[in-house]
Amino acid sequence: MDSLRLYFKLIRIAFQARMQYRADFFTGIIGVITLNVVNLGLIGILVSRFNNLNGWTLWEMVFLYCLWILGHSIYSLFFWHIRALEDYLIQGTFDQFLLRPANPFILFIGREVQYLGLADATFGIAGFVLAYTNLGLHWDWVKWVFFGLAIVSGTLLETTINLLVACVAFWTGRSRRVGGLIMQLNSMIQHYPMDIFGTTFRVVVTGLIPVAFMNYYPALMLLDKTDRLGGWGWLSYMSPIVAILMVYLSARLWNFALQRYSSSGG
C-alpha cells in the first residue's frame, strides 16, 4: 500500500516534469492521432474494397485495432520508459533507485510518464464506441467485465514483454533494438487478425511472444467468434491468465537482474 502511495506521488512529479514541455504536447497528440488514422485508414480501404478480410468485417477490424490501442494507451502513458532502461544503466542513474529505502521497481516505473498515451486513449475510445454501435453489439455484464480485463491484460502483456527484453540490458548493456523488433511483431498483430497468417507465426505469437493475447484472442470472445479456433476456443479466455503468468516471469527476471546488477556493478 505504501508502494502504491509512493507511486502516485512519483507519477505526480513525472507529470509535472512533462508539462514543462507543453509545445511538444500538442504536436505529439496530433502526431499520434494522425498515425492511428492512417493505420486504420489503410485497413479500412482494404476491407471495404474486398468486403472482408478472412471473415473479418470493417468494424470488426476497427474493434480489433481499438482493443489493442486501449491497452497500449495505458502502457504508453505509464510504462513507455521501460524501453529506455539501458539509458539508466549506461548513464549510471540506475544507482539512485538502489539508494533509497523503497522498492527500486516502483522508483524506476514512477520516474517518467509519456502523455502520448492520452491521444491513443482518446482515439481508442472513439473507435471502440463507433465499432460497438456499428456492430450492433449488446453486451451483458460478463462481457463488459471481460472487456475491462482484456484491456488491463493488454497493458500488462505489453509492459512485461518490454520489461523482459529491457532486462537483457543488465547483461549486454543494450536491448532497445531487440525490443523494437518485438514491437514490430506487435504492430502486425494490432493491424491484422492473426488467423490470416501461417501456423508457425501463430504459434510464435501465442506461445513464444504472446502478443496475440493483447487483442486477437479476447476479441474473438467479445465478438462471439470463438468457433474460428475450433478446439482451441478456450484460448480466447486466457488473456488475464497469460498476463499474470508474464507478470510473474518478468518479476522473477527483474529480481534476478537486480541481484546481478549489484554484484557486477551494472
Binding site: Q91, L98, R100, P101, A102, G265
Partner: protein, 327 residues
Amino acid sequence: MITVSHLKKYYQRPVRQEGFLGSVRTLFSTKYETTQAVDDISFHIDEGEVVGYIGPNGAGKSTSIKMLCGILVPTSGDIKVNGLTPHENRMENARQIGAVFGQKTQLWWDVPVIESLRLFRDIYKVSGAQYKHNLELFNDLLDLHEFQNTPVRQLSLGQRMRADMAAALLHNPRLLFLDEPMIGVDVVVKERLRTFIQQINHERKVTVLLTTHDMIDIEKVCSRIMIIDHGRIVYDGNADQMRNQYGKQRTLVVEFEEHVPDFETPHAKIVKSEGRKKWFAFNRFETSPSSLIAHISTSYPILDLAVEEPEIEAIVRTIYQGTAEVA
C-alpha cells in the same frame, strides 16, 4: 560507526567480442577479464569523524562507497555500517545514510527543487516537524530559498550541488557519503559547502566520508585521511602529516633557453624533465624560490618560470613513498 574488514570487490567483465553477432557471443562467452577494484581493505571509522578518502582515478573510491551504500555486493569481506550489513539490509541502511554523487544529481531534472525535496520527505517518511526544521536550517546555511522554486535543469552547478546536499541530509542520516561533491564548483561555493559539512558534523555528529581531488578540502574539513591506490589502502592516519607536506612542498618549473643536462641544486631536487623544461621540488621553509632561481640562473640561461603548488596525487605519492620507506 563503520567497520570494514578484508573487503574485496572484483569486477568481472566478459571479454567483448567484435564482429558478426559479437554481442550475442559476448552473452555466452566464458572469457572474463577481472579488475581488482577494491583489494582487501580494512578500516574502522568512529562516530563524528570526517574522513578524507583520496587516491588517484580508478583507485576504487567510488566502488567502496557503493558497497557502503549497499548498491554493490562485495566479492568477499565484511562491512558493518552502524551495525548493519548494507547489501543485506539495503533499505534499513538507506535510512541511516545520505549520499551525494557529484557526477550526477539525484534530483528530478524538470521540476522545482522543492518538489524533489518533498518527494524525498515521503520516500524517507520524514516527519512534518523535522522537514520544516531541516528546511529552515538549509535556508540558513545553503540559501536554499534562492532557488528552491527553480527546476534543477536551470540551476548552476553550485546551486545544484547545494540542493543535492540538502536532499541527502533531509532525513537526518547518521552518516554522509560524499563522492566528489565539489566537482566543477567555484571557489566561493566550495568554501560554503566545506563550512556546511563542518557544521553538520559538529552540530549533528554526522560522520562524513569524503572523496575529493582537492587538497584544500582535506586541509579544511578532514580530521583523518585514507589513501587508496590500486584498490589497497596505502595510508590511514591523521591528516596533519598531509597538511605539513602540503604546507611545505612547492615545485619550481623552469624553461631553459636550450636543452640542459640534469644538475645538482642545494635544497631542491629535479623531479621531472620534459624538453627544455625541468621541475624542481623544494621545501619552502628551507629555501626561497628567489634564491633557488638565482642559483639556477648562474648555471644556465632561463627563458620562463612558474611556481606550482603540489597536486594531491603528488603529495599522496610522497606520503606513500615515505611510509613505504619506513616499512
